[in-house]
């Protein structure tokens, strides 16, 4: 397992999360509505950041599956806030040049008559830098 | 100008001496100068006639003298109490400092006393005589041809300008009319200092306290300072120092003195009256009074016998020491 200390510190800084508070109860993953979409689950995000094992996360589609519904944040007994870790890793990934997960070109395929602006705005905020 | 005259007081005292109600009179005695009035014990009518004075300089608060004098005299002692003096009188009773049975207290009205420093500031030094006439003082000096006439109100002592009460809270007999507790502005100066920055306050007090010569007059005149032995005179207290040994000492002395009388000080103002350096020592006491009023509710020491001072009392909901400052900042 590769320990990327720089990325690890960067993610801890951006998220403000202390992953060593995690006691491995798995409640975040138990409560996650996007669990089945994810290759790495919320508890794994926390655990892998704690170990410095960041690269697999950066390249994982799981980054774009988190709904930011904050259920894991509110239900974590230790106040670890896994969603903030996911967010920090996601930002680390898309802040690289050309790494936007979604572009304006994708929109026509998505948009329908009743698509609310909110959907596009939110998706852009999440998937682009 | 006082509404009550020397003659009336002498007559009252003589009466009480002669009918045996009292065996001595604690009153103001003639001093070297007209403004230099000394607390004196008179035992006969003749002594009264020769030595008793009552003028605009009779500020001395006699309450404290009762602690020592009541022991020395057989029978009762007559004491004249201005309204402010009666608070000290009660406070000392609260602290069991003299036997109430040995005192015959006569309340007298007071229109405010003059501050000799203020008089001198107008008349100049070398005062030979001061006469009183209506609301005017006539000051004869050695160096001026004509006597200087001064309005009594212009030379009123600070504590009288900010008089808190014309009401007597204790007496056996009252001369003249009873007054009322007054809504005074006595905390304004404290508030003004509070509104300053810490640096400004520090500069203010540095200027004031640096003049202290540790004459102990404030302590000796203070009706709350009646300790059998003052900690500053007691070699076993660990803080004995009869004169300041270093720069810190006055401050220690004045803070500790103010702290020791906190909750017991009636704000009679004797400390500042007797200070030869004109240090506004009463502001320290008033600060404590103001704070305790703010923090724990209004309390006037001596207003009633047996009341419990804020510092020997508590509630479970008192504010925290750290909150004192938040509170002030919020109020500001």
């Amino acid at each position: 397992m590769h320990n990327n200390k720089y990325l690890q510190e960067e993610i801890i800084r951006i998220s403000g999360v202390n992953p060593s508070k995690c006691m491995r109860c798995g409640k975040c993953s138990a409560t996650c509505p996007a669990y089945d979409e994810m290759e790495y689950h919320p508890h794994q995000f926390v655990n892998m950041v704690e170990c410095g094992d960041i690269e697999p996360l950066l390249n994982s589609k799981s980054l774009y599956k988190c709904l930011s519904c904050f259920a894991c944040i509110d239900r974590c007994p230790r106040g670890v806030e896994p969603a903030k870790v996911v967010e920090a890793v996601r930002l680390t990934a898309i802040r690289k040049q050309g790494a936007n997960h979604m572009t304006a070109d994708d929109i026509p395929a998505i948009i329908e008559e009743d698509t609310p602006q909110q959907l596009l705005v939110s998706a852009f905020r999440k998937y682009t830098k | 100008m006082q509404k009550i005259t020397r003659e009336q007081l002498i007559q009252k005292a003589s009466e009480l001496l002669e009918n045996g109600t009292v065996s001595a009179v604690l009153g103001w005695g003639i001093g070297e100068f007209d403004y230099d009035v000394t607390p004196t014990v008179f035992s006969t009518v003749e002594e009264l006639r020769n030595g008793f004075v009552f003028n605009d300089f009779c500020g001395a608060n006699f309450s404290k003298y009762l602690v020592k004098k009541t022991d020395k005299i057989e029978g009762k002692i007559l004491v004249f109490l201005k309204p402010c003096d009666t608070y000290s009188f009660n406070q000392l009773l609260t602290e069991h400092r003299f036997d109430r049975e040995k005192v015959y207290a006569v309340g007298i009205p007071c229109e405010g006393m003059a501050d000799i420093a203020k008089v001198k500031a107008i008349s100049g030094d070398g005062i030979a005589a001061i006469g009183s006439n209506g609301d005017k003082l006539t000051v004869t000096t050695l160096y001026a041809d004509e006597p200087v006439v001064i309005a009594a109100n212009d030379v009123l002592a600070e504590r009288c300008i900010n008089c808190k009460s014309k009401k007597h809270v204790a007496y056996d007999e009252l001369m003249g009319e009873e007054g009322e507790v007054i809504e005074s502005n006595r905390f304004d100066e404290v508030a003004r200092l509070e509104a300053m920055t810490a640096d400004e306050r520090f500069a203010f007090w540095q200027n004031e306290l640096s003049r202290c010569i540790r004459c102990n007059a404030c302590r000796d005149a203070c009706p709350a300072c009646t300790c059998e032995k003052c900690v500053f005179d007691n070699p076993n207290s660990g803080v004995e120092n009869k004169s300041p040994a270093n720069e810190f000492e006055e401050k220690l002395f004045h803070i500790i003195r103010a702290y020791h009388v906190a909750g017991r000080c009636t704000d009679c103002g004797e400390c500042s009256r007797v200070c030869p350096q004109n240090i506004p020592l009463h502001l320290l006491n008033r600060k404590f009074i103001k704070d305790m009023n703010d923090f724990y509710g209004e309390y006037q020491a001596g207003a009633e016998v047996g009341s419990r001072a804020p510092l020997v009392d508590y509630t479970t909901e008192d504010l925290e020491p750290g909150e004192v400052f938040d509170r002030r900042e919020n109020n500001a």
Binding site: - | Q206, N246, F248, A262, D291, P310, L311
Partner: protein, 144 residues
Amino acid sequence: MQVNEYKPLIVAFCCNWCSYAGADLAGNNRLAYPADVKIIRVPCSCRVNPMFILRAFQRGADGVIICGCHPGDCHYTSGNYFTRRRMAALFSMLDFLGIEKERTRVEWVSAAEGAKFAATMNDFVATVTALGENKRLEDLRCKK
């Protein structure tokens, strides 16, 4: 960090029943705080005479902290309530004289709060260090 690092002198009066034990607990758990803090054990925070505090400042202390039991938890029922009033009045007076209010503090630390004890001391030392040497209490008399 400066070469000539300023080290404040802090006197901590600790109640035997709570904060002194809290300090012991901090020790047991190896929770570090600066050595500038020197503890004096008193039976109750209400034993602390304002004179002791002024004395400490007079002799060169830069900060004085009094630690007692949480209100309601005094071993002697009411001692800390008196402390609370006394120190509120005293600190307000020191502030009135223009002396930095940050140099004095009262904290309630129980015997179980080792971590709070260490955190309190770290914070207090940092505050006093930022203020620098205590001059005002010594210098009030001397006009500069």
